[in-house]
Amino acid sequence: MQAFAMGTLRIGAMLALALSASACGSPPPLDKQLEAVSSWTATMQLARDEHGSGAITTTYATQLRDAALAALEESKQTIGQAAHSKTDSSYAAAALDSLRTAIRALNAETGS
């Protein structure tokens, strides 16, 4: 039981180190970043629809918009580092544009 205890303790310590290390790595690859941007674009579109039907409050829709704006800012900083060709860059620019458009549409819906 003592050996089991020591072994488990070592693995636990390694896990704790890995958990902290995984929080501060290099930017994710382009496809992951594009997925994240497109996920926020879809979130904005859904929020606009649900706000239009009265399902969600303006307070909540505004928070979603702020979260999307934060994601947009973060992506603008990191997506360029992950785009290694002209095609990559044009995909990235199109994705960011779509998100900007979706945010503007939600702003128009909520009147902010």
Binding site: I11, G12, A21, L46, A55, I56, Y60, A67
Partner: protein, 404 residues
């Protein structure tokens, strides 16, 4: 008649107390990214938890000692320090996540940033613990937690294809993104089989004065309560699979999760989602901080009971007072509640062997359990859970790096 009311209350308490920040976050993340494919993990986690709760409840009812007492007595202090430290650390992380869940629900309702809510939430929890009894803390919050049934209503309103849901109950692998799939599977298991749940249940059995006459109540409460509660987690996964997955929305922030009920149920669904997140996370906050206080008090042989006045078990009361306030700090300084939840669920899954493997020895100890020792079927199930817990410990580290 009294027995039946105890059974009914126990089952209702288990259902109302099942969903919490981890199960809501991981079920909806799983549904959004992999549709019904991770439903089998919820089934596995729920059945494992039901078995572990039945066994720790049986231990307490027969021996009149909690699982923590028996861990220390049977294996000695040196070994006991390992589960003590492991469970303490991961449960503290989960506690902070639960406070984060309440705070984010209040942020969504009011627009005031979640960080401002952490300390008031902790103080309200402390007042309830200081002034309340075990019955109020456990049953009061769990009864209010029945609001979580709204997930079942939302899932039914979305008209899922039941054969596909049934297919999701069987293990299957996606063609790509396997690291992420297994990372979410480990997170879901961590959320389903948190050690604090069965440590709290075991201490609760003594708080409620269980004897051998309660073995039937224990079996039904642990079995039915968890099966119905697990059903709510499956409902959350179904709702996310039908609202978020078709639009390719991934859950990066808690704010996105409210859509899974706003979409099928309109404003009522939105409001009830906020109520569910707030109440269930608050109930879990109280349960975890009590479980931690029980762990330390039972481990060091202090006097303990939530039914005693704080001056009668001062060290026990001091522990929950300090811990609930300390756990509010990460949220109060702005830690992302969803990231904290995901990390704490994986860490919880990795900590399972230190509480599951010793149970195998205790459940077969005739000096403790007499004729109520495990039968062969329970032992096979417990060995499977123990193997699963070791697999989770080994897999947690690489999966956190690859899929987290």
């Amino acid at each position: 008649m009294k027995k039946w009311s105890e059974v009914a209350l126990g089952v209702i308490t288990s259902i109302g107390g099942f969903l919490e920040v981890g199960s809501i976050a991981t079920s909806t993340q799983g549904g959004a990214e992999f549709g019904y494919r991770l439903a089998w993990v919820l089934v596995l986690g729920t059945l494992s938890l039901a078995l572990l709760m039945e066994m720790t409840g049986r231990l307490a009812a027969v021996s009149k000692r909690t699982y923590v007492d028996l861990l220390r007595e049977r294996f000695g202090y040196r070994f006991f320090l390992l589960p003590l430290v492991a469970v303490f650390l991961v449960s503290f992380l989960v506690l902070a996540s639960e406070i984060g869940g309440v705070s984010i629900a209040l942020q969504m309702a009011t627009g005031i940033n979640f960080a401002w809510w952490a300390i008031p939430v902790a103080l309200l929890g402390w007042v309830l613990l200081w002034r309340g009894t075990f019955g109020i803390v456990e049953k009061g919050t769990a009864l209010l937690g029945l609001v979580a049934l709204v997930f079942a209503v939302g899932a039914l309103k979305l008209h899922p294809a039941w054969p596909a849901v049934g297919h999701g109950m069987l293990p299957s692998l996606p063609s790509d993104n396997r690291a992420r799939y297994w990372y979410l599977a480990v997170s879901i298991l961590g959320a389903s089989i948190s050690p604090y749940l069965y440590l709290f249940y075991s201490a609760g059995a003594l708080e409620d004065g269980w004897t051998m006459e309660h073995l039937g109540v224990n079996r039904v409460t642990a079995g039915l309560g968890n099966v119905f509660g697990g059903g709510l987690a499956v409902a959350a996964l179904i709702a996310a699979a039908l609202v978020l997955a078709p639009r390719e929305i991934k859950v990066d922030r808690y704010e996105q999760i409210a859509m899974v009920l706003a979409s099928p149920l309109g404003r009522a669904g939105f409001v009830l989602f906020l109520a569910t997140l707030c109440i269930t996370c608050f109930g879990s906050t109280l349960e975890i901080v009590l479980a931690l206080a029980y762990l330390l008090a039972q481990g060091f042989g202090w006097s303990w009971s939530e039914n005693l006045k704080p001056e009668k078990d001062a060290r026990f009361a001091t522990v929950y007072t300090v811990l609930i306030l300390l756990a509010a700090v990460p949220i109060a300084i702005g830690a992302n509640p969803l990231t904290l939840t995901n990390v704490s669920m994986v860490a919880t899954a990795a900590s399972l062997p230190v509480t599951v493997i010793p149970l195998l020895a205790l459940m077969n100890d005739g000096d403790i359990l007499m004729k109520h020792v495990n039968g062969w079927a329970s032992n096979v199930a417990l060995v499977v859970i123990a193997l699963l817990s070791v697999a989770l410990l080994v897999a947690a580290l690489p999966l956190q790096l690859l899929g987290g």
